[in-house]
Amino acid sequence: MQRLYLLCFCLLVLGRILDVHGGNNVLDCCLRTSEKPIPRRIVQDYRLQLVQDGCNIPAAVFITTKGKRLCAPLEAPWVIRLQEKLDASSARKAKPKGK
């Protein structure tokens, strides 16, 4: 059984070897995330990092007022709330611009 598992693992790995690297794009990715909440005050924007974009893990990337990009777990409740707040404030900012 263990051999079978090993075989499957090897085949999967070989699958990655044959994975087509057409453009060979090197991407800026979050490699790990932390559960420690990030204060709203220092965050100005965010974007999402998805696995299908070519990064190994999904993450929320918060951009601080100083331009640093911090990695947070995508599904954590505090992350979702922070995203909602940022969405709301960006919508508020967008409105007067439109008028």
Binding site: I17, G22, R69
Partner: protein, 364 residues
């Protein structure tokens, strides 16, 4: 330091109420506790200089080499054996693969602007020729094995060898097309980090299991089988050649050794790097940003090496053969570059007593 903050009323408050955070921005960020995005500007810069230079050089060199193989085959029309036909198609496959490299350079330098259809063509052609190259190398090794180790069978098959050769090549192309189908179907140009890139995006509907199965089939048919067949065939050929003592087998053995060594030397580094990459993904190893940068750098450099194999195929498989060198000379003299054919060479394909060795010399 963050522990000081925890005595806030509730955890929900902690999240939403920023007033509870006593730190200054600078303090928090210098803390180093919060993971930052791993920026790879240095690697991207290297990619922008290394990739275009190496890819352009390789595609030029390789297209000249493989183009010459194609030209001599077309002009002198001398494909009598399965190996001949496979060499012709290997050259075609390598030529097409190298043709995709300039487009990969454009993708690296300025993103992918030609759109999804062109992206499908690029990725599909790349995969198609990647797999067909492996398959043709396999067919060549099997044909050499039959010609040298199974001499009676080779003699029996000889009259129909040409037809068999084309049939084999057709099957190899068909199989390679099937293996490349995912690239043809799922490649597309899409926006990523304010840059259009051309790559494979599996839709969420294609489950992980289906993707795994596709990978498995692709690997078994496109890599494991060809590789094992190649190694076992050449081992048998080497045994037979060693048993037949004399000066000629040693030259042939050296060529065999070169074939395998070049394959391993050029393909293994990249394979190992991708293996590391895959292990990191599958086992969810935690790597530091510096390690990740080094890994990307190594992937980039070894990827160039893997392309070098396509350029060396004509050298290893065709240029080492006496007949090809003769045809090349003929081509040059036809084009008026050199004098008439060297009289010494016309005596080269003299009839040999040993059928197996002459066949082998022919192929090498």
């Amino acid at each position: 330091m963050q522990e000081q903050v925890t005595p806030s009323p509730t955890s929900a408050d902690l999240i939403t109420t920023t007033d509870f955070y006593p730190w200054e921005d600078g303090y928090l960020l210098e803390d180093g506790m919060l993971p930052e995005l791993c920026e790879k500007q240095a690697v991207q810069d290297l990619a922008r200089t290394y990739q275009p230079t190496v890819y352009l050089l390789l595609s030029l060199l390789g297209m000249v080499g493989n183009g010459l193989v194609l030209l001599t085959h077309i002009r002198y029309h001398r494909a009598h054996s399965i190996t001949d036909v496979c060499l012709l198609h290997l050259a075609l496959s390598d030529f097409l693969l190298l043709l995709t490299l300039p487009f990969a350079i454009i993708d690296t330098l300025q993103g992918w602007s030609p759109g999804t259809a062109a992206c499908k063509a690029l990725q599909g052609l790349y995969a198609l020729n990647f797999y067909s190259g492996f398959l043709f190398l396999t067919c060549i090794s099997v044909d050499r094995y039959v010609a040298i180790v199974r001499v009676p069978a080779a003699c029996r098959l000889r009259p129909r060898a040409r037809r068999h050769g084309w049939l084999t090549a057709g099957l190899a192309w068909l199989l390679a097309t099937l293996l490349a189908l995912p690239q043809f179907i799922y490649s597309r140009a899409e926006q990523h980090q304010d840059l259009h890139v051309c790559r494979i995006v599996f839709p969420p509907a294609v489950s992980r299991a289906a993707r795994g199965a596709t990978n498995l089939v692709q690997v078994v048919l496109g890599f494991v089988v060809p590789f094992l067949v190649m190694v076992s065939c050449y081992a048998a050929v080497a045994r037979t050649l060693l048993a037949a003592r004399g000066a000629q087998p040693h030259r042939a053995l050296r060529v065999l050794l070169a074939l395998v060594l070049v394959f391993v030397a050029l393909q293994l580094p990249h394979s190992l790097m991708v293996l590391l990459d895959a292990a990191e993904l599958l086992a969810s190893w935690e790597v530091t940003c510096a390690q990740s940068r080094r890994k990307d750098m190594a992937l980039l450099v070894t990827g160039g090496l893997a392309y070098l194999r396509c350029c060396l195929n004509p050298l290893l498989y065709a240029f080492l053969g006496q007949r090809f060198r003769q045809e090349l000379w003929l081509l040059a003299s036809d084009a008026g570059c050199v004098g008439p054919l060297d009289p010494r060479c016309s005596s080269c394909p003299s009839p040999r007593r040993r059928a197996s060795l002459s066949t082998f010399q022919d192929m090498m």
